[in-house]
Symmetry: C2
Subunit: 197 residues, 2 copies
Amino acid sequence: MSRSRPYHHGDLRAALLESAERTLREKGVASLSLRELARETGVSHAAPGRHFKDKRALLDALALAGYDRLARALEGADDPSLPLQPRLTALARVYLAFAAENAELLALMYARKHEPGAAEQMAAGVDRTVGVFDRVIADAQRRGEIVEADPERLTLFTGAALHGIAGFTVGGILDPAEALGMTDDLIHHLLHGLRPR
Amino acid sequence: MSRSRPYHHGDLRAALLESAERTLREKGVASLSLRELARETGVSHAAPGRHFKDKRALLDALALAGYDRLARALEGADDPSLPLQPRLTALARVYLAFAAENAELLALMYARKHEPGAAEQMAAGVDRTVGVFDRVIADAQRRGEIVEADPERLTLFTGAALHGIAGFTVGGILDPAEALGMTDDLIHHLLHGLRPR
DNA sequence: CATCATTGTTGTCATCGTCTACTTTGAGGT
DNA sequence: ACCTCAAAGTAGACGATGACAACAATGATG
């Protein structure tokens, strides 16, 4: 007796998200279709509509989950007892590794277009990620390890340096492994500047 | 007598590209359809196929044109007689302004997926853009204005800082005007580092 | 002026996202 | 134990899209 799948899936929402992330990783966002997703999951083509109002809603959910994973990884890798340079280098490595392993997802996370409601949640995700770096900068400034200047701006610049390198790897301009390999150097130049001392 | 348009358009390819870029700027890449483009241009839905094998081929052409404009702007703004800091600041301003005015296009330019053939041309576009910064760094290093280190890597880091900020504005995290306003500061910190001297 | 590659056109196809109407299911109240 | 009913799934339809094929107009070249 082919015990055909029960009418109700159980946790279709999670299954869809999981399948979507795999497709995203393997074939890119362009070839991610709700119908194909439904097929893979063994439900009808309209079933995803019960859990995601839109295709964008699904992508937003994916991005949100991405922010959560990234923030967790960063928070887990932050050791406040370390001096500035090694502390920041460790975080940079985590960020660049995440970028290398989740290139398409990261693009989604930083994408402009979101569902009206999700924009705020997205901002929260950004804040949580940025928060880690904020603390590092603030701590360092308190210890006099960093120049006196608007800390928010310093965080932004630090983030920009990382995000820029990540963007190069995502775009295929830079090999991910190579990017990881130059992390030490990147943080060194960020802290010491390009000018001779 | 409605002198109906001649059978041959004259320069459909250029017209399509122009129309495509306007749509890209106004409504984003997601709502850019070949058929809609054909309608706007007053040709049949299959006509674009004569000039662009693919939708991606059109997007690639758009990106290529973008690289050309960006490189021109940078090359035009580079004044080799200036000392490092103002020279680099001027270039940074041009880059950030381009990013602000061509957000969607820039995303296309840095996109991963390109038509097999176009990838090399794309790389050439990157090289030309990077070349400007390469020269600045090399000149400065020759004059001792910059630390002794692999110049290619220094260029990469400089580009990363800029690209990161640009990415933030493209993603809507940072206001374009605000980004432009902090250009001086950005270059200052890039050159002098975050550590106190 | 005949030829014929270019550049258009029309028609068709599979796929997609979304909507609506219908069906199955199972949890909660009585 | 039964009823009710909202949640979650299904089937079918619609309009739009990208791609392709077969055909038609055009105009440059010989």
